[in-house]
């Protein structure tokens, strides 16, 4: 069974979203997603200060199997990107929910978070 932390929100395209205390939200990919992708070899993180709307492709994760777009879970501006991914992209495999975060957003509209899945709904969606 895949690890799906209760405190986060999820998208159908396997991104997780964590609300931070400072009002930003962190985004990464789920344990299930990294399992599907296999060994991650390269991450193209989004540029800071770029704005995206929800559902837009904003960066790329490349594994030994495939290059996959990462989609913006909610609209907002990129305020930070994980610098560790440049040299050690494999931390997405080893620690998808913590060390392997990909970027942080300043949300345009926090209500959009309500539209994302909770842990149970995400678990059901990948069980199918």
């Amino acid at each position: 069974m895949s690890n799906i932390p209760e405190e986060m929100r999820y998208t159908s395209s396997h991104e997780w979203v964590r609300m931070n205390d400072d009002g930003t939200v962190s985004v990464g990919i789920t344990e299930h997603a990294q399992e599907l992708l296999g060994d991650i070899v390269f991450v193209e993180t989004p540029e800071i200060e770029t704005e995206f709307t929800a559902g837009e492709a904003c960066c790329v994760v490349e594994s030994v199997k495939a290059a996959s777009d990462i989609y913006m879970p909610i609209s907002g501006e990129i305020v930070d990107a994980n610098p560790a991914l440049t040299d050690t992209p494999e931390i997405i495999n080893s620690s998808p929910y913590d060390d392997g975060w990909i970027f942080k957003i300043n949300p345009a509209n926090e209500d959009e978070l309500e539209g994302l899945m909770d842990a149970q709904a995400y678990e059901d969606s990948i069980e199918e």
Partner: protein, 482 residues
């Protein structure tokens, strides 16, 4: 071992007398960093390497989406004939009529078999064909002052080259989802189409190995919005002589001639990505084509294609590949062309049915396959911890080239299997038997599968290191040695 590693210096003797006739200033100060081996050593080295090839000449090679079929040797022999191979690209038209008549007929045959109105043989590879095709779509919209059309629609089942091509032509890419039955999600497509739509790139049959049943409706929707339809000819082998992209409503098609029409491929070239167009795109075709006028042939120029996207290369495509395609098509004739698609789809459907019987799960079980089909090994991965990649590696031990793994991305743990029309039933059965054997091994001795291959010159490769620390150069040291 590299030939440089066999090298022993001082095997050759420099002829000083000869060197003396070259002015000192023009002589190299250090000896060239070339390997020094005897003729016999060189012969053995390269012969040994050639025996390590895992190729269509030695093995069944069902690499999905790649059409690794037998390429008749006669097509190659004729392309090598000095009358073709020795022709200078700048030879005057009057001395090139034979070659040009073949190219003209090839253009005509391609128009006929695809239902397009014009064909250019200029693109030197599939990627250049795609580029030229989308460049024509862009030139068409620009000529109409339709500058707001900035978006190309690409289904998520597409080959990766499609979004790459659209991006290279300055477009943004919008992905369209695919339904579980393999057809494009029409509702999502409807929502995505708008005044910004420049066109749609579609592979039909798709990379999921099924025919897009809604193609006529899709064509109408795109055309009604003012967009154009691009046909990725990757899977042309499946429909050859049966149905035509032109009749489906496509405005541009690229065909990988090296793939469907008799040039051994997979080694990186040379190739040919010939492009066909509908009538309204003829003025935009690339320069260098053959025109027939008063029973003789001449090269097309700017006045033939007034809004041409220009030249794609200095001369005219890859003539060797084009001659092979011409010979192959002439050998097939109208009847043979149809048999290509009939037998490639028959073989794929036979294999899919037999593999389902043997307990494997087809990704789209309820539809007929085109010339290729997908099985998913997600159950094996979950229950036995044996993945599609493990099956692929073990197949090598059993004498089969692995099918395409992990593509298309939509299907987890997938193998995309394309048997082609040139394999015998015995070879298809042999492959199925090998898959059944691996399944048995996965259930009873999974280590044997997960540590495969065992009989190849190299064991399981470190794919992460290959992707991240790729180093293919051999460094020459100061002493001029390697």
């Amino acid at each position: 071992m590299l030939i440089f590693e066999h090298s022993k210096s001082a095997l050759h003797k420099t002829n000083k007398t000869e060197l003396n006739s070259i002015p000192a200033a023009m002589r190299r100060r250090q000896s060239a960093a070339l390997p020094e081996v005897s003729e016999l050593q060189a012969v053995r080295h390269y012969t040994r390497l050639s025996t390590r090839n895992f190729s269509i000449d030695t093995h069944f090679y069902p690499l999905g989406s790649c059409t690794m079929k037998y390429n008749p040797r006669v097509a190659n022999s004729i392309a090598l004939a000095p009358e073709f191979a020795g022709r200078h690209p700048l030879a005057p038209e009057k001395f090139s009529q034979g070659f040009m008549s073949c190219m003209y007929e090839l253009q005509e045959m391609l128009c006929e078999v695809t239902g397009m109105k014009g064909f250019s043989l200029a693109p030197m590879a599939g990627a250049q064909g795609e580029f030229a095709g989308i460049a024509m779509i862009r030139a068409f919209h620009d000529a109409n002052g339709d500058h707001q059309r900035r978006e190309i629609l690409v289904p998520d089942a597409a080959h990766g080259t499609n979004p790459a091509t659209a991006t290279m032509c300055g477009y943004t890419v919008k992905e369209i989802p695919t339904l579980a039955d393999g057809d494009v999600d029409i509702t999502a497509l409807e929502a995505a189409i708008g005044p910004q739509t420049a066109g749609l790139m579609l592979t039909n049959p798709s990379t999921l190995g099924v025919f897009e049943r809604q193609i006529q409706k899709i064509a109408k929707m795109i055309h009604a919005a003012g967009g154009l339809l691009y046909y990725d000819g990757a899977n042309l082998n499946a429909i050859l002589g049966k149905i035509r992209p032109g009749d489906m409503g496509f405005d541009v098609i690229h065909s990988n001639l090296h793939k469907t029409f008799a040039t051994p491929h997979g080694g990186g070239g040379p190739g040919s990505g010939a492009i066909g167009v509908s009538a309204r795109l003829i003025p935009f075709m690339p320069i260098a084509g053959v025109i027939k006028e008063n029973e003789s042939f001449r090269w097309a120029n700017k006045s033939d294609y007034p809004k041409s996207i220009g030249r794609l290369s200095a001369f005219f495509g890859n003539p060797g590949v084009l001659i092979r395609a011409y010979v192959y098509m002439r050998l097939l004739g109208r009847e043979g062309m149809t048999r290509v698609s009939e037998f490639s789809t028959l073989n794929a459907n036979y294999m899919m049915a037999e593999m389902k019987k043997a307990g494997f799960e087809a990704a789209i079980p309820d539809r007929f396959a085109s010339h290729e089909f997908i099985i998913t090994l997600k159950k094996q991965a979950k229950d036995l911890h044996v993945t599609a990649m493990d099956f692929a590696k073990r197949l090598l031990d059993l004498g089969y080239h692995a099918p395409t793994t992990y593509f298309p991305l939509l299907v987890p743990e997938c193998l995309l299997i394309e048997p082609t029309e040139t394999e015998s039933k015995e070879d298809l059965d042999g492959f199925i038997k090998a898959m059944v054997q691996i399944q048995h091994e996965a259930e009873n001795d999974s280590e044997l599968v997960t540590s495969a291959p065992h009989t190849m010159p190299v064991k399981r490769l470190d794919e992460v290191r290959a992707a991240r620390q790729l180093d293919l150069s051999w460094t020459v040291t100061e002493a001029g040695k390697v």
